[in-house]
């Protein structure tokens, strides 16, 4: 049996890039949502959570229009000489970031909210400026949230299918990730290959979640004060 590892490697690459990107994108959003009292806060929180409930095809459809040759983002990328994003790895990355946004924002927001105002006030009276407080108090105290967010985003990205198909298609080495490869194998009745990937995914997902629960349980116990 000839087994192709490329989709596995591609999935891991996509998940890693998505996780790193989202930590930078979601942290300020989560921080802002956890601190602000503006009236449209709930509306914004709902927008961030949309990918949780939307069918991936809906998200993929609009992203396709947005990033496509006639969409505003597509025209921008073309004028910048970057070409078009759909059906490339970069396009897939953009779609994944949107798709997994709530999985990063929500744990981070919860973690920031549970810190409360007091430690930041203490830091302010100890001469720490706004960003100093954020980096030396809020981020370290929100560590369980960062861990949860990273793991969830990574695992969720490995598991995505609908958005990939809409935005990335099925180009080997470029956009043919693991979940699409399983679909392909099943379509062509290559059940042994489908088994290897699927069983592997089940094992992997279980281990990831187990690790998350164990580590977070420990962090919570250790942080009691």
């Amino acid at each position: 049996m000839n087994f192709d590892w490329q989709p596995v490697i591609l999935s891991i690459k996509l998940a890693s890039f998505t996780t790193i990107t989202l930590l930078f994108v979601a942290t300020p959003i989560a921080w802002w949502l956890s601190r602000t009292r503006v009236w449209y806060k709930q509306a914004l929180a709902a927008v961030v959570a949309l990918p949780l409930v939307l069918p991936p095809t809906v998200l993929g459809f609009y992203l396709l229009l947005l990033l496509g040759p006639d969409g505003p983002v597509g025209q921008l990328t073309q004028s910048l000489g970057l070409g078009l994003l759909p059906f490339t790895f970069e396009g897939l990355l953009v779609a994944s970031v949107f798709y997994s946004l709530p999985f990063a924002v929500q744990p981070l927001q919860n973690a920031f909210e549970s810190i409360g105002q007091r430690p930041l006030e203490v830091a302010a009276t100890l001469r720490a400026s706004y960003w100093d407080r954020f980096l030396t108090v809020a981020v370290p105290l929100a560590r369980p949230g960062f861990l949860t967010a990273s793991v969830l985003v990574f695992a969720h990205t490995v598991g995505e299918f609908g958005v990939v198909l809409m935005i990335g298609g099925n180009i080997p080495g470029e956009t043919k990730v693991l979940s699409v490869a399983v679909y392909d194998h099943v379509e062509t009745l290559e059940y042994p290959q489908a088994h290897i990937l699927s069983a592997g995914m089940i094992g992997f997902s279980f281990l990831v979640l187990l690790a998350l629960y164990v580590v977070n349980g420990r962090l919570h116990r250790g942080n009691h004060l």
Binding site: E121, T125, L126, R127, T136
Partner: protein
């Protein structure tokens, strides 16, 4: 440049309105005293800049807030001790102490790391994490951490309220010491009359978002609009020295401006500075110096003011012994029967005196 702390804040926060106009001395301990909800903590938070409300604030001549500017908290040279120690749980005691210390430029450091560690007795705790400390230890670390920013003013928000009696008694001597070691003003918020008696030099009594009365400790405690609010704790605190010791009977005479009161001898040397607290309920008045009484302290006094107490049957009488005031709680029937009136000379019988040792 004016000395001391001048603060004016006026605002409405939800259903609560705050309207304070404070002038506090530039050194010593000023206590903001009042019930919960009286606005004392809010006032302290306004001074720190933790609440942004319209007002003016200057500390020893430098303006921290007026119509045109609002210095952010981290730019104000102050230290703040919260009710709960609020140590950073992710840092060791040493790193907690260093947090503020490192953020002050070396030329502006007045208090050295070793000094603060020594004063608050936290040397043996440095390597521990905050969750391995007792309540009293945590609060001592928090005070040391605050002082290590070499502040121009120290703000303390009920630092003992969350502690049990033992931890309280463990940390109070440190606070009393600070009073003498620090040359900076301390603003201390509390609802405990005992802490007022032990720590305050200057007293501000707050009620309902405003200031009821303020002034030096002794005179403020003796101003009759306050004692009504204090119930059983109504009384005065006098600055005194140990003037004579009667070793045979284990008594010591505490001399205050205008007289002396015999109290239990605590073994303090002659000339030692102390405070004596005399509660209004322990003072009775007589028109003649009685013989055949068990009361040791009978002093000549003049009646200065008579006012109603919280209960309709009771009156509060302020008398003066030399320069010093005392309060007596009497029934109104006694006031009438003895024909007490302003300016009359009278004998004050003091049944009990509490001596507070100063650090």
């Amino acid at each position: 440049m004016s000395d001391g702390i001048v603060a004016r804040f006026k605002t409405r926060l939800g259903g609560f309105s705050l309207d304070v106009n404070l002038q506090l001395p530039g050194r010593g301990v000023s206590v903001l005293f009042g019930h919960s909800g009286s606005g004392k903590t809010t006032t302290l938070r306004c001074i720190a800049g933790l609440e942004k409300v319209p007002g003016e604030l200057s500390v020893n001549g430098s303006v921290w807030q007026d119509e045109n500017q609002f210095l952010p908290v981290h730019r104000r040279p102050l230290a703040y001790v919260f009710q709960e120690a609020s140590l950073f749980p992710h840092l060791s005691v040493r790193r907690n102490l260093e947090y503020g210390y490192k953020r002050v430029v070396p030329e502006q450091r007045i208090i050295s790391f070793d000094q603060a560690v020594h004063w608050l007795g936290v040397k043996s705790l440095l390597q521990r994490t905050p969750d391995r400390l007792s309540g009293g230890e945590r609060q001592r670390v928090a005070v040391a951490r605050a002082l290590l920013t070499s502040p121009k003013v120290l703000l303390m928000d009920e630092p003992l309220a969350a502690l049990d009696l033992r931890s309280k008694n463990e940390i109070l001597p440190y606070l009393e010491d600070l009073h003498d070691t620090l040359s900076i003003p301390v603003i201390y918020v509390t609802h405990s009359a005992d802490e007022v008696a032990r720590l305050a030099d200057y007293l501000v009594v707050m009620d309902n978002g405003g200031i009821l009365t303020s002034g030096s400790l002794t005179e403020t405690l003796a101003s009759l609009n306050l004692p009504m609010k204090m119930g059983e704790e109504a009384g005065v605190v006098l600055e005194a020295v140990v003037g004579e010791r009667d070793e045979k009977w284990h008594l010591a005479r505490c001399d205050f401006p205008g007289g002396g009161l015999w109290a239990r001898d605590l073994g303090l040397p002659l000339g030692h500075r102390i405070r004596v607290r005399v509660l209004a309920r322990d003072v009775s008045l007589a028109t003649q110096a009685l013989a055949g009484t068990s009361i040791q302290n009978i002093l000549p006094a003049t009646i200065e003011q008579i006012s109603n107490d919280a209960h309709a049957g009771l009156a509060l009488v302020r008398i003066r012994i030399g320069e010093s005031p005392l309060l007596a709680r009497l029934t109104k029937r006694s006031v009438a029967a003895l024909n007490l009136e302003l300016g009359r000379s009278i004998w004050a019988q003091v049944k009990s005196v509490a001596v507070i040792e100063k650090g």
